[in-house]
């Protein structure tokens, strides 16, 4: 709509900066034409939105591929932290261990020098570095496996399709045979009709005459 300071369609699609949006809002309140334009756009969008998204028929093979499942240790670790009972048991065990240790080594029994001596040096941080080659190898292996999975699925579909085509072909052969037989019967019937009723008399009776 030309009378609007900015394009009403841009406003409707929320493509204008905030200040411009406000200007169009003010304009639309006082302009019947732009208001109608906006209402039409809203109605069109509402109609379009009645076509809902479809659910994906199957998960992407890449996700369900075994290579992408977490390692057993990791699964155990996550299930451990996910279980309240196990967590409670572990906490109780740690607490009881701490009490036992404390009972054998009361505070102040050890000399400060001994305490400092008992502090072990912090272990070097274990940094898990995965080289680019490793990552690339994992990616390549995963991709190859996913591609193989897709190809297997497609080949299964092809086999099913071929079977269906074969059964359809057989049905067509049978149907064409039946059609041919029916056509022959019709031709024979028509011939008898054209030749007259005498021809309908059995051969044995004709011979008797």
């Amino acid at each position: 709509m030309k009378c609007s300071p900015f394009d009403v369609r841009d406003y409707f699609l929320q493509e204008l900066p905030e200040s411009e949006q406000r200007q169009v809002e003010v304009h639309v309140k006082s302009c019947q034409g732009c208001r109608e334009e906006l209402e039409q756009l809203r109605a069109t969008e509402a109609s379009l939105m009645c076509l809902r998204d479809k659910e994906i028929p199957q998960r992407i093979a890449f996700v369900s591929d075994k290579i992408f499942e977490p390692s057993p240790a990791r699964r155990w670790w996550s299930s451990f932290w996910g279980s309240t009972a196990r967590l409670g048991f572990a906490s109780a065990a740690m607490l009881s261990t701490a009490i036992v240790v404390y009972s054998f080594h009361p505070v102040g029994a050890a000399a400060p020098v001994a305490m400092t001596a008992s502090v072990a040096p912090a272990p070097a941080a274990v940094v898990q570095t995965v080289s680019d080659n490793d990552i690339q190898a994992r990616i390549d292996a995963a991709v190859a496996k996913a591609v193989a999975s897709v190809e297997t699925r497609q080949s299964v579909q092809n086999v099913a399709l071929l079977k269906k085509m074969e059964s359809v072909r057989r049905e067509m052969i049978i149907a064409s045979g039946e059609l041919e037989y029916s056509q022959k019967k019709i031709i024979a019937y028509n011939r008898r009709q054209w030749d007259g009723p005498n021809d309908m008399v059995p051969v044995s009776q004709q011979d008797a005459k």
Binding site: L48, C50, K54, F68, P70
Partner: protein, 188 residues
């Protein structure tokens, strides 16, 4: 929405470092959206599913080339767009892709022979979308159904914003006319 975007960015960084669980999560978040985009532009469920598979394979292979993780969505849809048009070209090698009318858009009326959406409006909308040319339809799908900004659509489609706007506004005008009788009859 912002929280979700941050999460996605984190997953993308993890996946780019080779963390497959991160990529799995990313796929599970995006697969339905990408599938529906491809379904609406290819009008074929099998094709859409196979293409979605290919899109995520390509995305995984090339994720480390994505410099700006905030551009993941248009980057992913750009792959999807390219995959779909590559398929169109393979199937119709001697015809200009822009002139190819895709097969009848899935109307949503029947799936496997059973009535699914018997509503009159669904049929009217599917028919109206079917009458758009492929470029116009894709612009509507990206804007209305997928909610992309013009700039992102320009990136996905590989054309200027002005072209995107022109396609979209022409499409909306046509749809407005096509769907107006439905509104007048009180269907919507």
């Amino acid at each position: 929405m912002i929280f979700r975007a941050v999460e996605d960015a984190d997953l993308i960084r993890r996946a780019a470092r080779g963390d497959v669980e991160g990529f799995n999560l990313l796929v599970s978040r995006w697969e339905k959206r990408v599938y529906n985009y491809l379904l609406r532009i290819t009008a074929n469920r099998e094709d859409a599913l196979d293409l979605t598979q290919d899109v995520f394979l390509k995305a995984y292979q090339n994720l480390r080339k994505l410099d700006d993780v905030s551009r993941f969505a248009p980057w992913l849809y750009r792959i999807a767009h390219n995959e779909a048009y590559s398929m169109f070209r393979k199937r119709k090698p001697e015809t200009d892709v822009d002139e190819v009318e895709p097969e009848a858009v899935e109307t949503g009326i029947t799936v496997g022979g059973n009535a699914v959406f018997p509503m009159e409006l669904n049929i009217a909308v599917a028919t109206a979308l079917d009458r758009l040319n492929p470029d116009q339809r894709e612009a509507v799908v990206l804007k209305i159904y997928q909610g992309f900004k013009f700039e992102e659509m320009s990136e996905i489609l590989g054309c200027p914003v002005s072209t995107v706007k022109s396609r979209l506004y022409t499409a909306l005008e046509l749809l407005k006319v096509e769907l107006a009788p439905m509104k007048a009859r009180g269907v919507s």
